[in-house]
């Protein structure tokens, strides 16, 4: 941090970053007060693509809200499908067949890999490296093809149903997924050789944008942001749901808290997700993919319910208030990047503008999910 940035009586100017700027990855505006190249204060301005999903939820039945969940985080939409069906299943007491839970885990983890791959490409692009983006998109394309074959969608998934999934997976999907994992295992070392060990990359990320564990806690940060600051917290492990307890996988945690740590967490998570998918494919049980006795019209008992899942960016929570009718009385969506971005103002103070953009990239922002 420079002397200039710390002394408030120097001459400053306001710089507008966004709302249309490639580095903000969507329609986000940041109002920066600058002292030369240093940031005196940074204030994110939100709401450019706010669509009031929560009000929409109050005006349609429980099942009709499903497509909305795929439009919050368009890079990891299946986790949001999962979060919502899990909350409603809890409220209405719906049991899910084992095969359906396995398919959910397989598809969600594939989606997580796809999300991290896109983040990897876009993040390195932010830092000025163009080539890795093409590699990442090449691999991600295979996942999208696989997911398209079972869900019918490539981005805005609406695949899960209360009590199961919409469509069973077939042998082609299983062999395709195994082949993909084999391929990505070979490609990941290339990624690390090309990017992770690159000296420019290290200089840009190491010890830059340090976020302390205490700051994470005060702002409610979760996901790779918290795990890059040494917080061993992952909903899949801390608050086990679905069939995750049956799989053997690690939660990558790095203690440095800098942009590099958040980068490493996501790269390691790709490997762990592949482990989960492999184990799930090996043990995939037979049986139905949808519970038989799910009522056509769902009317959860009056009361409030809360449920969380681990999305690609952190904890996605759904709070439901039911008044016993066929529409939600209140539906709150707790999105992870909303909280993760809220610490940006404090974390970016005193940083160089270029470093702050690296920090912002390492937070993995998806704006529709912040604005909802």
């Amino acid at each position: 941090m420079s002397e200039l940035a710390l002394s408030p009586n120097q001459e400053t100017f306001v710089l507008n970053l966004g709302p249309q700027h490639p580095a903000t990855h969507g329609v986000l505006r940041v109002k920066l007060v600058m002292d030369g190249e240093y940031i005196v204060s940074a204030e994110p301005v939100l709401g450019y693509i706010h669509r009031m999903h929560e009000k929409m939820g109050e005006n349609r039945t429980w099942a009709q809200f499903m497509p909305n969940t795929g439009r919050l985080d368009y890079l990891g939409a299946l986790s949001y499908n999962h979060g919502y069906v899990k909350a409603v299943e809890r409220a209405a007491g719906i049991e899910v067949p084992e095969r359906a839970e396995y398919i959910r885990v397989i598809t969600v983890e594939l989606n997580r890999i796809a999300s991290h791959l896109l983040w990897f490409g876009a993040f390195v692009l932010d830092l000025g490296g163009f080539t890795p983006l093409l590699y990442a998109f090449d691999d991600r394309e295979m996942i999208l093809d696989l997911l398209e074959s079972v869900t019918g969608a490539r981005l805005t998934f609406c695949y899960f149903r209360f009590g199961g999934v919409y469509n069973d997976i077939d042998d082609d999907f299983v062999t395709g997924t195994r082949e993909f994992i084999k391929r990505l295992r070979k490609r990941l070392p290339d990624y690390h050789n090309l990017v992770t060990k690159n000296i420019i990359m290290i200089k840009r990320l190491k010890d830059v944008g340090v976020i302390s564990a205490e700051m994470c806690r005060k702002y409610g940060a979760t996901g790779p942001v918290a795990r890059g600051s040494g917080i061993d917290y992952d909903v899949r492990r801390s608050e086990p749901y679905s069939v995750y307890p049956e799989f053997d996988f690690d939660i990558p945690v790095y203690h440095e808290g800098d942009s590099m740590a958040r980068y490493m967490v996501r790269m390691d998570e790709i490997e762990q997700s592949m482990r989960i998918v492999e184990q799930a494919l090996d043990r995939l049980p037979d049986g139905p993919v949808k519970a038989e006795k799910v009522p056509k019209i769902i009317k959860p008992a009056p009361g409030d319910y809360y449920s969380v899942v681990e999305a690609a960016r952190g904890t996605f929570g759904v709070r439901l208030v039911s008044d016993g009718t066929n529409t939600p009385y209140r539906l709150k969506l707790r999105s992870p990047t909303f909280s993760n971005l809220s610490l940006f103002g404090e974390a970016a103070r005193g940083m160089l503008l270029a470093d702050a953009l690296a920090l912002m990239g390492s937070l993995d922002l998806v704006i529709p999910e912040i604005d909802r």
Binding site: E54, K55, R90, G93, I231, G303, G317
Partner: protein, 182 residues
């Protein structure tokens, strides 16, 4: 955990255990609006993190409750009269005009280190929804309070800036109020 529950019991109007599998949280804490900051301080000291703040508009709930109670009382009176062989009494209209509507504010807390979810809630008068901000305790609460103000018009006194946050900058409406329609 027990220590935390005991400390919350000191400041809360009521503390009850919830069935986690059915509800998704372990502790249901109801506080007076003025005590939300005290509850936040206790949870902060215990190493908790604030996951979200939100509201619920209970427009008409008091009237519905009063009507349901009056109906139940009337049904009981009618049954008693019929059993005694008397003429059943006329049901008197319920006067709900003096009943106050309320809004609820919900704080979801959780811990990184152990699984024990604490939900803190409080109710404010719907005509004058005001309660203290907790952004001094949890800076992350700032944005959640702004959002809740946008959606419900609940005023968090002490919050530095409650101008529209997610809504357009000239918005003078609160879309999640039950009497709002576009």
């Amino acid at each position: 955990m027990e220590e935390l529950v005991a400390r919350l019991e000191e400041i809360a109007a009521s503390v009850s255990r919830a069935d986690y599998d059915a509800k998704g949280y372990h502790l249901d804490v109801t506080v007076a609006p003025d005590d939300v900051e005290k509850a936040a301080l206790v949870l902060d000291e215990a190493g908790y993190t604030l996951e979200a703040i939100t509201g619920v508009d209970w427009l008409g709930e008091a009237a519905r409750k009063a009507e349901a109670e009056a109906k139940a009382a009337y049904a009981a009176a009618k049954k008693a009269a019929e059993e005694a062989g008397e003429e059943p009494p006329e049901m008197e209209p319920v006067d709900t005009s003096g009943l106050k509507d309320e809004m609820e504010i919900v704080y979801d807390y959780t811990s990184y280190s152990h699984l024990f979810r604490v939900m803190v809630r409080c109710r404010v008068d719907r005509d004058n929804p005001e309660l203290p901000s907790i952004h001094q305790v949890f800076p992350g609460a700032d944005w959640h309070e702004k959002e809740t103000h946008d959606f419900f018009g609940i005023v968090f006194t002490g919050n530095p800036d409650l101008s529209p946050f997610l809504l357009p900058e000239d918005a003078d409406y609160h879309p999640l109020r039950k009497d709002f329609s576009a």
